[in-house]
């Protein structure tokens, strides 16, 4: 469903990704691990279509389409979801209104009927119960005054509501306590199925104890230098990245 070939990307003219290739089949969960500065976040932003990330070479195909030719909102409605490492705060934008607007944008694109306010609240409340989010988080402005954990819960709520085909989790685990970490893992695991794939980007192995990946890749200096099964994550946790980097 996702095929990345020989991807090169620059930020402010500086090469960050230098020939990255990766294939994700439907239903698979891949983890990308790597030291700081290896290009992990750049990869997630390039896939989501953020401005300022210039692809200089290579291709990305998503569900048979040229992902790089699509606008960010087109990617989202096609089924790509980026869970942000540091979600923005939007004063003046109510969380419920935002979520419903996003949900209906996605539903429109899929040719599904839009949900009205009452249907939406029903759907949202059911999801929030599972995520252990208080109801009033719907009423507050998006992420304003939310703790780090609450912001990540909100990201997971958006992910669960929009039911993407491919979730990109950009260090979603950073700064989370164990309960929040489990909540993130539970949300991802609840979506697991033949039509859901995920790319879990993380610095630590910790999250991968709860979301067991099918494949683990090590990213260094803009390229994947090693790939393996879930055991690779544990090995990296024990030996650090240096050995892999030196060997590559």
């Amino acid at each position: 469903m996702l095929k990345i070939e020989n991807l090169h990307a620059t930020v402010d003219g500086k090469p960050i990704l230098k020939g990255l290739s990766l294939s994700i089949a439907p239903g698979e969960i891949h983890a990308i691990m790597g030291p700081n500065g290896s290009g992990k976040s750049t990869l997630s932003y390039v896939l989501a279509g953020r401005e300022g990330y210039e692809v200089t070479e290579g291709s990305v195909t998503f569900m048979g389409q040229d992902l790089l030719a699509m606008e960010p909102e087109e990617r989202a409605v096609a089924g790509v979801f980026l869970a942000f490492q540091a979600p923005v705060e939007l004063p003046g934008v109510g969380n419920a209104n935002f979520l419903r607007t996003a949900l209906n944008a996605v539903r429109r694109a899929k040719g599904e009927a839009e949900v009205d306010a009452i249907q939406f609240l029903k759907l949202a409340r059911a999801r929030m119960k599972v995520l252990n989010m208080p109801d009033d988080m719907l009423k507050r402005p998006v992420n304003v005054g939310f703790s780090g954990g609450e912001k990540k819960r909100n990201e997971m709520l958006q992910m669960a509501m929009l039911s993407p085909k491919l979730a990109l989790l950009d260090e979603t685990d950073s700064g989370l306590d164990i309960d929040a970490l489990k909540m993130v893992a539970d949300t991802v695991n609840s979506l697991r199925g033949p039509d859901f794939s995920a790319l879990v980007i993380t610095h630590y192995q910790r999250l991968l104890n709860h979301i067991v990946p099918d494949h683990v890749h090590v990213l260094s200096a803009g390229r994947i230098i090693r790939s393996g099964g879930p055991e690779l994550a544990q090995e990296l946790e024990a030996t650090g990245y240096a050995a892999s980097v030196a060997a590559a």
Partner: protein, 436 residues
């Protein structure tokens, strides 16, 4: 080429000369004296040029160069009045229309100024300052009608709508309504004013409000300026507030080719309050100006101002806000914030806050910001599937929220929110956020 004397201040002065004997109140010496004094003031000032400090950022050359015709007598076939359950007073081309108004059973009086002019000696002209504001002078010289609202002591007046329509015209009419609003001790009223006209008609709407809020009275004044996009809207509001009274003004400045929303408020009794909030939505080819002057002339008064301007295309916005704190006005609490959001590289905003403080025990602050839509916020919304235009609309609405939420009156807030949505639709944007 326009013949000499058909445009500018001279044309209006000539018009006054010609109509002198026929203008309402011509037989009343005090009205004639007021008109003559106004004419004198207008002759002295003319249409202010940009060399006049108060008009540094707003150029009246287009007004000055337009040949204005007679006001119409009401060609209003195409007029559709919006549904409302509120009492309302309707003006068409500057004239009160009893047949279109619904004013029965009110606990206060609402009258046509032309009809009750003989009773207004001492009240008409009590608050306006034609010697200082040229447009008020022009209005004083040529006013023909207006609304006279009087809410007796202790009466809670509820909501009153004031609807002003311009109709289609080839002749570029100019009209100068004079509205008087008086709230006696402890009275209250919410006045929601809408000014609109056809998209392609050129006309000048030059209203002057004289507002008197007596002790412990409260006026909520909501103004939705949605004139046609070729119109000139030059409005001057004067309000004075007595001890413990409150004047709240909220203005949406969204229509017109050139629009000036000028407000002068004097807090004249202790513990009087004033809130002035506003939103300016300025699209390609428009110029919108909000100019406020707040006079703290008594101790223990509070004033709050929040103005937000959104500019698209090649457009220009102005905010000028002066707060004067007189020596006697100890314990003044004054606050002013104005913020602008530029949606296009061709949009421009001029912002001039001004504090003049003579008392030594006061709390007074002001702030101003100018910015663009935040790229990270836009990307976040788009990454959730929301199309670019809609994402922008959501962020613009969010930007306006603070000014809108500062409006205490729910009717005004609702009317405003409808007007903002309408503005977006006119910009060809599918709409902002869905309400859950």
């Amino acid at each position: 080429m326009t013949a000499v004397g058909t445009t500018g201040a001279g044309a209006f002065l000539a018009r006054h000369e010609g109509l002198r004997a026929r203008l309402p109140g011509a037989h009343l010496p005090w009205v004639t004296a007021l008109r003559e004094a106004s004419a004198e003031a207008f002759r002295a000032q003319g249409f202010p040029t940009r060399r006049v400090e108060a008009w540094k950022y707003t150029d009246l050359a287009a007004v000055n160069g337009t040949v204005f015709g007679e006001p119409l007598t009401g060609v209003d076939d195409a007029l559709t009045l919006p549904a409302t359950t509120n009492p309302r007073a309707v003006f068409v081309d500057g004239r009160f229309r009893a047949d279109l108004s619904t004013l029965e059973g009110l606990a206060y009086t609402v009258e046509s100024l032309a009809a009750v002019l003989p009773t207004l000696e001492g009240r008409l002209g009590a608050v306006a300052r034609p010697a200082e504001q040229a447009l008020a002078a022009l209005n004083g010289m040529l006013f023909e009608d207006g609304l006279v609202v009087t809410v007796p002591a202790g009466v809670a007046g509820g909501v009153l709508e004031l609807l002003s329509f311009a109709t289609v015209s080839e002749r570029a009419p100019a009209y100068h309504p004079r509205h008087l609003v008086q709230l006696e001790d402890g009275a209250s009223l919410t006045l929601i004013e809408t000014a609109s006209g056809p998209a392609a008609a050129r006309y000048l709407h030059n209203p002057v409000f004289e507002i008197e809020v007596a002790a412990k009275a409260r006026l909520n004044h909501g103004r939705l300026q949605q004139e046609g996009l070729d119109a000139f809207f030059l409005s001057t509001v004067y309000a004075r507030v007595a001890e413990g009274g409150a004047y709240d003004n909220f203005t949406l400045n969204a229509g017109g080719r050139l629009a000036r929303n000028e407000i002068h408020v004097a807090l004249q009794g202790p513990k009087a309050e004033c809130h002035m909030n506003g939103v300016q939505l300025v699209a390609d080819g428009q110029h919108a100006d909000t100019t406020t002057a707040l006079d703290h002339a008594a101790p223990d008064c509070a004033s709050r101002q929040t103005y937000k301007t959104v500019l698209a295309g090649r457009s220009r916005g102005v905010f000028q806000g002066k707060i004067l704190v007189r020596k006697i006005a100890q314990k003044t609490d004054g606050y002013q914030m104005n913020q602008a959001l530029l949606l296009s590289p061709e949009a421009e905003i001029d912002s001039k806050p001004q504090l003049e403080i003579y008392a030594d025990d006061v709390k007074c602050s002001h702030g101003a910001t100018v910015g663009e839509l935040d790229a990270d916020n836009l990307f976040f919304l788009r990454s959730r599937g929301i199309p670019l235009d809609q994402a922008k609309a959501i962020l613009v609405e969010a930007f306006l929220t603070e000014a809108v939420e500062a409006v205490a009156d729910e009717d005004i807030r609702n009317a405003l929110s409808t007007a903002v949505t309408g503005w977006w639709q006119r910009q060809g944007v599918a709409g902002g956020i869905e309400v859950a």
